[in-house]
């Protein structure tokens, strides 16, 4: 009896601390998004006043029209989409194919090759930046989306991820059975393996898509022609424009962020669990 009475107010205050901490963190996380929206709706003279506006204004359409006059927003979004979808589809195919080979096929030097792939994950991408740029320019791919797509297909983490998944998810007996039925290895991969690893495709797909969509340094280096800019490079060009029209700049970043947020809110459960799975297992 003595033990119960003093814990109750203590527990209450603990709860209060808990909720206020989380609410504060949530507000800090969300406020910049809100403020981005507010600025995207304000004319420049309101933005330049002190204190800054905290409520939306009326220039939502004007600011976005100005964005369209400065950069090819939808073109850039299209480029981002083409690049991200191609890299995602292509690397999911290549990673699962290699993952299948490493998990289920016997060949000489298999384990050594796999270790080699794991080692390549430790190389920082900046190390080969300059020669890669040179190779791309020699191939004539500067300002060509191929410059992002083709090198993007190499994904050591993806192979690792797929190998682990296929090893666990598909029993050897299933593959043996398909073999007795006369299936070639590629047919086994296509008709037996791929349908069984759809969750692994989804998880890796989200990770790859996000990484490609948000990549900046490499596209900045190789996509020199404005018509090939991805969204990230185009946004940078927008914020570097000489007349610092903040309403316009934040309108651009706001509308570039909205699709990502919508996708995230729709799939947030899958999103969060896939990223933690991907992260923790690496």
């Amino acid at each position: 009896m003595k033990a119960i009475t003093p814990t109750q107010p203590k527990q209450l205050s603990r709860k209060a601390i808990l909720y206020s901490l989380l609410t504060f963190a949530g507000l800090v996380s969300l406020f910049p998004f809100y403020w981005m929206f507010v600025m995207a709706t304000q004319p420049n003279h309101v933005i330049n006043q002190t204190p800054p506006a905290l409520l939306p204004g009326s220039e939502l359409v004007t600011n976005f029209t100005n964005v369209l006059g400065t950069i090819d927003f939808f073109g850039a979004m299209m480029n981002s989409l083409i690049v991200s979808v191609s890299v995602t589809v292509g690397s999911l195919f290549l990673c699962s194919l290699a993952g299948f080979a490493f998990a289920k096929l016997q060949f000489k030097g298999r384990d050594a090759l796999f270790v080699l792939i794991l080692i390549t994950m430790m190389i920082p991408p900046q190390l080969g930046l300059i020669p890669s740029y040179y190779i791309i320019s020699q191939l004539g791919w500067l300002s060509d989306l191929k410059a992002i797509i083709v090198p993007g297909l190499i994904n050591a983490f993806g192979i690792f991820w797929m190998r682990q998944y296929i090893k666990e998810a598909i029993p050897d007996e299933l593959i043996e059975a398909a073999r007795l039925d006369g299936c070639s290895n590629f047919r086994i991969y296509w008709n037996v393996v791929t349908p069984a690893i759809l969750p692994a495709f989804a998880t890796l797909g989200i990770i790859v898509f996000m990484n490609v969509w948000n990549d900046f340094l490499w596209p900045l280096v190789v996509l020199q022609d404005q018509s090939t800019h991805t969204l990230q490079v185009a946004l940078r060009a927008l914020s570097d424009s000489y007349n610092r029209d903040y309403g316009m700049i934040l309108s651009g970043t706001f509308w570039a962020t909205v699709p990502l947020i919508i996708v995230f809110l729709l799939f947030n459960k899958a999103f969060i669990s896939s990223l933690t799975q991907g992260a923790v297992k690496s």
Binding site: G26, S29, T50, L94, Q126, F264
Partner: protein, 313 residues
């Protein structure tokens, strides 16, 4: 590989041997795209960087051998050292508080009988979904040097004069570190939360029965069990910090000032603005060395902690 006695056995074995052969052909075929692409876009550029680091080259004309001069040049460049110093300071400012806060948030989110758990989780995680470019643009306006910048106008309420964030030693670093903090804190929270949820509740029950206080539970159960997750985030944070580039480039609007230039930004400017491909490659080699040192250190620490745990048990 195949012994003689096996060769002379029946048809059945022969058929399975050809199956073996087919398997290895398919194996090599299926893994070859990675190695072909890696040879062109990974291995060759890497080796070429080591080569290029000893040459003078502007990307177009002749390459002339320069010995270790490229390294001498960058080691004598105060901005190079400044970029290393900035990278470390920004990395520490952005990562250390971030991981501590992430741990607290995960601990709070893991509390029993917490309502709106998913709402909090989604809100805290959302910054991670945005692109770094968008975050950097947004925060460069929040940290705008004029009095109308959000941070400056809040400081103004307390009577502090506007800080020119882009041109002050600590202002630039704090602004860049804040961007990193804001974008990554939710991500690490979710990693820690995943770790905490993997700890069996039996352990806590047993501890409660033994009369352990909350801080004792934290110290003897949560922290040790979370060790692999903490090491993962520290490792990723370190490697990520060493590669900071987008934030300073956007924050300074292309004019990379020495208050906030990082190693990768230094490399980028050398190569793609000044066309000094040789010295930029030398910088890349040094960066590679630093990352390798941190990776090895991290491996050693991980092993040591692992051993310590084994000894205790």
């Amino acid at each position: 590989m195949v012994s003689n006695s096996e060769k002379y056995t029946e048809k059945k074995v022969k058929r399975s041997m050809s199956q073996e052969k087919r398997n290895s052909i398919a194996g090599y075929l299926f893994v070859s795209p990675f190695f072909i692409l890696f040879a062109i876009f990974g291995l060759f550029p890497m080796l070429f960087s080591f080569y290029l680091a000893f040459f003078k080259w502007n990307g177009l004309g002749e390459m002339t051998f320069n010995g270790i001069n490229n390294f001498t040049i960058i080691f004598n460049d105060p901005i190079f050292w400044k970029s290393i110093y900035n990278t470390v300071v920004i990395g520490l400012l952005g990562t250390v508080p971030q991981l501590i806060v992430a741990f607290l948030l995960a601990y709070a989110l893991n509390a029993q009988a917490l309502r709106f758990k998913n709402t909090f989780r989604v809100a805290i995680f959302m910054p991670y979904v945005t692109s770094i470019v968008a975050v950097a643009i947004l925060f460069s306006i929040i940290f705008n040097s004029q009095s109308f910048g959000l941070v400056n106008s809040i400081l103004g309420v307390f009577g502090v004069d506007p800080i020119v964030f882009t041109q002050s030693e600590w202002g630039a670093k704090i602004a860049i570190a804040t961007m990193i903090f804001w974008r990554w804190v939710g991500y690490n929270t979710i990693i820690y939360l995943a770790g905490m949820q993997s700890i069996s509740s039996d352990l806590y029950e047993a501890a409660k029965i033994d009369g352990a206080t909350l801080s004792q539970q934290l110290r003897y159960i949560t922290l040790p069990m979370l060790k692999p997750f903490i090491l993962f985030t520290v490792f990723m944070g370190t490697i990520g910090s060493l590669q900071i580039f987008t934030e300073p480039l956007i924050f300074f609007g292309g004019n990379l000032r020495e208050e906030g230039i990082t190693v990768v930004a230094y490399l980028y400017r050398d190569a793609f603005e000044n066309n000094f491909f040789g010295t930029a490659s030398a910088t890349a080699i040094v960066l590679f060395g630093i990352i390798m040192i941190f990776s090895v250190l991290n491996l050693l620490i991980t092993n040591r902690l692992g051993r310590g745990k084994a000894r205790k048990a």
